[in-house]
């Protein structure tokens, strides 16, 4: 029978106290590393190349200012003054000391944050549209559902030992900003006869066998969501392979058994599971929804904003690239770029985090979001406040006008930190950004997503980058493979490899050649890189990348 887990302060405090004891026992020698490792991973603590790494979940990417200040405090007090925001709406600390981690977790617990289920074969942090609750194109705010899923999945006994990690993403908009088709389960809100429900997508994933998810159910009424998810997971527990971890993700289960068999089994399970639900979850959802009520949007003139837009070109460039349409005309969604040219994508200092918390408090109804694209968002801003926000951001090095452009790169930690890496990814991102800033080409090139992973695990989403870069180890030397045409939105696609890879010192010139080819073959300045690629295919890019082999063929 479904039993709701009261995920409250007491639970978290108890869990943290347990972990404190486990750390003590590891240090005094009563636990071996074999015994301790699974315990620390359950609490988000990894060991990386140079140090431990603590991964903290930011559920569906939503933070309040006090939580952001606590993230800053952790960076300042127990790390090296910064944190790394990741594609999974997590923040990672790269330098914690083992003895400090229990204190870090307690500090997080005091503001309702934790690192539970950020690792291991469990249901991971549920990710969502970073514009949730604010976007003009949204049917309904998906976060109450995400919170419901979080409460249901946290410590759910049936799903603590899955065949492999399990990632759920949810969006409330037809424009998919949550990459739902590259998750184990993707939930896309749709409307039918005026009722909101979900298209359920299953078996998407990246890693060594990238796959775009398939539709399991074209319309699922909202109240059936939890029993249906239970059915999906129960079938995964039955069918999923445990003999080979590379074949253990649900994408392989669906591929090997066929989507139709999977669907039949889910529907069968679903009937049983639904009978066990008595409506408590829907009451809980109603209660949760009250926490996500929209703020009391203020009115007021936007004259100051219009004047600044007309007179200040720097402000105008920032507005044109970093703002998105809010569901209220006189408001805007502000994306703060954590991608200053030449900096590490996703890294923010404690001072920057504190400033963003202050701005959220002062101007943005106390709301912050973290995007899977490693940026920070102020979801609700009255337009009259934009000039002041921009000025404050500028002083803190946070006003880079590059959201959605070539330097707004996703990069995983790669060989600079990650123990699994086969090559570096951060410096490649830094150099691409610096290079195109130098060339002053960024705005002319327009919308372009570059995504970089430092190994086949694809944490940097390279398969769904318009330009994807994968760092490999070829005979002891870093080598970078390029894919083109990937897409992480509602028109999701896995990119296609261009051909042989490039050495570390060749990869930046290679990207430059791709961009030059694009600028030559695009029909108009409005045709984006992805549109051009879809129209002309690989040939002109291949010719630009491998001029010598073209000659040989000719």
């Amino acid at each position: 029978m479904y039993k709701y887990n009261a995920f409250d302060t007491a639970f978290l405090a108890e869990r943290n106290a347990q972990f404190r004891g486990q750390v003590e026992r590891r240090i005094d020698g009563s636990l071996t590393e074999e015994e301790f490792r699974p315990l620390r991973l359950m609490n988000g603590l990894y060991l990386q190349l140079h140090a431990y790494m603590l991964r903290v979940a930011i559920p569906y990417g939503t933070l309040n200012p006090d939580q952001m200040r606590t993230l800053a405090l952790l960076a300042q007090k127990w790390d090296k003054g910064y944190g790394h925001f990741t594609t999974r709406q997590n923040i990672q600390y790269n330098w914690p000391k083992l003895k400090d981690v229990p204190d870090m977790l307690d500090a997080l617990g005091s503001v309702g944050l934790h690192a539970i289920q950020t690792s291991g074969n469990t249901i991971r942090n549920v990710t969502s549209d970073h514009f949730a609750g604010a976007a003009a194109d949204e049917i309904k705010d998906p976060r109450p559902i995400a919170e419901l899923i979080r409460q249901w999945s946290t410590d759910h006994p049936e799903f603590q030992f899955l065949g492999r990690k399990f990632k759920i993403a949810i969006t409330g908009s037809p424009n998919d900003r949550a990459v739902t088709k590259a998750h184990d389960v993707g939930l896309r809100m749709i409307e039918r006869d005026g009722v909101a429900g979900f298209e359920v997508i299953v078996g998407g994933g990246l890693g060594r066998t990238p796959m775009i998810g398939k539709v399991l159910r074209d319309f699922l009424p909202q109240e059936d969501l939890l029993p249906y998810l239970e059915a999906v997971l129960a079938v995964y527990n039955i069918l999923g392979r445990r003999d080979n971890k590379y074949k253990a993700r649900i994408k392989i289960t669906v591929q090997e058994n066929g989507i139709d068999t999977y669907r039949e089994m889910v529907e069968e399970q679903f009937i049983q599971r639904r009978a066990e639900f008595d409506g408590t979850d829907q009451e809980l959802l109603k209660e949760i929804e009250t926490h996500f009520a929209a703020p009391d949007f203020r009115d007021g003139s936007t004259e100051g904003y219009d004047a600044a837009y007309g007179s200040d070109p720097v402000f105008r460039a920032w507005v044109d690239t970093n703002l998105a349409e809010h569901r209220k005309d006189d408001h805007a969604i502000v994306t703060i770029s954590i991608k200053a040219h030449g900096q590490t994508p996703g890294d923010a200092t404690a001072e920057q985090m504190n400033l963003m918390a202050d701005l959220a408090e002062q101007y943005a109804y106390g709301e912050l979001r973290i995007s899977h694209e490693q940026n920070v968002i102020l979801p609700h801003v009255h337009k009259s406040d934009l000039p002041a926000i921009h000025a404050a951001l500028k002083e803190a090095g946070l006003a880079t006008a590059n959201v959605g452009l070539i330097s707004d790169i996703i990069a995983c930690p790669g060989m600079d930190y990650c123990a699994l890496a086969t090559a570096r990814s951060i410096p490649v991102a830094q150099e691409i950004a610096s290079r195109f800033d130098e060339l002053k080409l960024e705005h002319e090139v327009g919308e372009l997503k570059i995504k970089i992973s430092g190994c086949i695990n694809a944490c940097g989403h390279h398969h769904v980058g318009h330009i994807g870069i994968l760092g490999l180890d070829r005979a002891g030397v870093e080598n970078y493979q390029i894919t083109l045409g990937g897409d992480g939105t509602e028109t999701a696609a896995v990119g296609t490899r261009t051909g042989p890879g490039f050495a570390y010192d060749e990869i930046i010139p290679a990207v430059e050649r791709i961009i030059k080819a694009y600028l030559e073959v695009r029909e108009t300045a409005d045709e984006t890189f992805l549109e051009t690629y879809r129209r002309v295919g690989m040939a002109p890019f291949k010719a630009a990348l491998y001029p010598d082999s073209e000659k040989k063929v000719a």
């Binding site: 140079h50 140090a51 410096p427």
Partner: protein, 102 residues
């Protein structure tokens, strides 16, 4: 013909600090690769690893890493070990920071 044996060092991470450490000929741990014991005998390597693993209460994840003889002691042969002995390339953190402090 069997491939010639690549010399090795035993390396691990420190339990408390998490940083990279190397095993010396004196059965102690150092944070400097050049002070590590370079193991050139294939038959000895697994024994040295076992010896190092006796310290499992204070270290994590000991393994044998390829290395070569340099003018000042062992040096890495692969870029992964080069990063481990230096630190990340995006900030002057890790071992390179410790050196900068000197």
């Amino acid at each position: 013909m069997p491939r010639p044996f690549t010399p090795k060092v035993v390396t691990a991470n420190d339990l408390l600090e998490g940083d990279v450490i190397y095993f010396t000929a004196e059965n102690s741990w150092t944070r400097t690769l050049s002070e590590a014991e370079l193991i050139t005998d294939e038959a000895i390597a697994p024994l040295r690893l076992l010896e190092a693993e006796k310290h499992n209460l204070v270290i994590v994840g000991a393994y044998l890493a390829d290395a070569k003889e340099g003018p000042n002691g062992p040096e890495p042969t692969h870029f992964r070990e080069e990063f481990r002995r230096t630190g990340p390339s995006n900030y002057s953190h890790g071992k390179q920071e410790a050196e900068a402090d000197v």
